[in-house]
């Protein structure tokens, strides 16, 4: 969501990353950013595709169909849904600049 330059990808409060296809211009910055590689380019349309958690279903389709329960849809700790940023408890009170 940091990388998206049009506001097409936004992390909602629920933690879900929502995709607004009308805003997308197919610049591929999200593909560059997603560390799991889950964004797919659709070059012919200049749009992207990503999992939307099947908002029209109770449970995502892939989970319902998985015969071995390899796919599990679960609630996770909400505090983990927003990108963990390094907590720096040992940071000085005054700014410290790296020499370089």
């Amino acid at each position: 969501m940091d990388a998206c330059m049009t506001g097409a990808l936004i992390k909602e409060d629920s933690g879900k990353v929502e995709y607004y296809t009308d805003k997308c211009v197919g610049c591929w910055m999200c593909i560059m950013a997603c560390p799991y590689g889950v964004i797919t380019p659709i070059p012919e349309q200049k749009k992207i595709a990503k999992c939307d958690l099947c908002p029209h279903l109770d449970t995502p389709a892939c989970v319902t169909h998985c015969p071995t329960a390899a796919l599990v849809y679960s609630d996770t700790d909400p505090s983990l849904l927003h990108e963990p940023i390094a907590i720096t408890d040992d940071i000085e009170d005054e700014p410290v600049f790296i020499e370089g």
Binding site: M1, D2, A3, M5, T6, G7, K23, V25, G26, C27, W28, M29, C30, I31, M32, A33, C34, P35, Y36, G37, I39, T40, P41, P43, A70, V72, S74, T76, D77, L80, L81, P84, I85, A86, I87, T88, D89, I91, D93, E94, P95, V96, F97, I98, G100
Partner: protein
């Protein structure tokens, strides 16, 4: 608590959002010299191309600032900061007090000393207003010259070409996108755009812009004496961070405003984020400017959170970018060109659709520090993540050279680690 933000780019917006998320009561004032709500700077060349219209420019819906309860001061320039008294002075004399201040003043195109640059029809492309002025000039433009083969130059050239304008890009170095791409990759791009009718002149410079006050620019003269006829000149020769306020506040400045990992400046009540900042580059282990949209967004978010009482550390920052030229996509990031002390691996091939592809990865010992992907860009972000987290990954480097590289090429322990940061259940399931 009064938070004042100077600037209206993505860093300023994300900071305002982060502050409001932590502080429901504080006053947030956002002061900008532009007259627009926060918009996508990278989309300015799309506006020139006609690929988007004005309504697509804002990155949030109207009413967003109202929802955030941000006091917006549009079209007013902040001209001084008194860091002792904690006051920002605006053009016209108005004074604004702050408890915490964020400087998100961005950057501006480097001024050019080429003769004739004052003529009408000579433009940089940085702001929404720039796009509008260029669009006006397009009405009398058949030929355009773009000075500079970097990201802005090539994006603008791409936009003008799509309008049916004859475009020549004049590049000082031996190749386009020279900051980002090695020669082999740059030449793939060059061949594609030349196929589409763009002219590229490398190894030369514009020494004079020709024309008169009546018609504006009529042409340019190159180093070797040749002239190119044109009615529009785009100058894409880099930007300078806007440092007036930082200087006024007496902050420590290198090439840009120094910030620590909390995005604080040398004054702990003043934060800075975005293109005006020198942040920590953990790949090169030095302070460096990495002025791109995603970094500005991240820095703004961290700065805002910390202004409102958090203690979040920003990660190290590095440059990266994504482009597409008539179906030839490219994504590059980190230390892309290698150099002394780095190991460079590369591979090329041809895709099913006949497009050439090229991949280059750069290692500093065991750690990935850079990559260039041309033609096959799927899942590039996995590489970005490996760089960002400084993962020891030389052991599976060869898998990265194939377009099929995906998460399954990562060792299972690494994959589990990555997933465990968002879902502790992941650790419980075996591969």
């Amino acid at each position: 608590m009064t938070y004042v933000i100077v600037g209206n780019g993505i860093a300023a917006l994300r900071a305002a959002e982060a502050i409001r998320a932590r502080d429901a009561e504080g006053t947030i004032k956002l002061i900008t010299d532009e007259a627009y709500p926060v918009y996508s700077r990278p989309l300015t060349s799309y506006l020139v191309a006609g690929w988007v219209t004005d309504e697509r420019m804002p990155v949030r819906d109207t009413g967003h600032y109202d929802k955030l309860r941000v006091d917006l001061v549009l079209g007013r320039k902040a001209i001084a900061v008194d860091a002792e008294a904690k006051i920002v002075t605006l053009e016209g004399g108005e004074q604004v007090s702050y408890d915490k201040l964020l400087l998100a003043t961005g950057a501006a195109p480097k001024p050019t000393d080429i003769g004739g640059a004052h003529l009408s029809g000579v433009h940089g492309l940085r702001t929404w207003d720039d796009s509008r002025e260029i669009l006006e000039r397009l009405q009398k433009t058949q030929h355009a010259v773009v000075i500079g083969g970097g990201f802005v130059g090539m994006s603008t050239a791409r936009a003008l070409l799509s309008r049916g304008i004859q475009v020549t890009v004049v590049v000082s170095s031996n190749r386009v996108l020279s900051m980002m791409l090695p020669l082999e990759a740059a030449d793939l791009v060059r061949r594609r755009v030349e196929d589409k009718g763009m002219k590229i002149s490398t190894g030369t410079d514009v020494v004079e812009i020709l024309g008169d006050d009546a018609s504006g620019v009529t042409g340019v003269k190159l180093q070797g004496g040749e002239t190119i006829k044109c009615e529009l000149v785009i100058v894409g020769k880099g930007v300078n961070p806007r440092l007036d306020l930082a200087k006024s506040a007496g902050l420590d400045i290198g090439d840009a405003i120094w910030t620590d990992s909390l995005m604080r400046t040398s004054n702990s009540d003043i934060y800075a984020a975005g293109d005006c900042v020198e942040s920590f580059d953990h790949l090169r282990n030095q302070r460096r400017s990495a002025a791109i949209w995603p970094n500005a967004a991240h820095q703004g978010r961290v700065a805002g959170a910390n202004m409102a009482g958090a203690r979040h550390g920003a990660e190290g920052f590095f440059g990266m970018n994504a482009l597409d030229f008539s179906g030839l996509s490219l994504i590059a990031g980190g230390i892309t060109l290698g150099g002394e002390g780095y190991e460079v691996l590369r591979e090329q091939g041809e895709s099913a659709n006949g497009n050439p592809w090229f991949r280059q990865i750069v290692f500093d010992g065991d750690k990935l520090v850079g990559f260039v992907l041309v033609g096959e860009i799927k899942r590039a972000g996995i590489l970005t993540g490996l760089i960002r987290k400084q993962v020891s990954c030389r052991s599976f480097a060869e898998t990265m050279l194939s377009p099929g590289f995906d998460m399954m090429k990562l060792p299972v322990q690494l994959r589990k680690q990555m997933l465990a940061t968002v879902n502790p259940l992941a650790a419980q399931f075996s591969a």
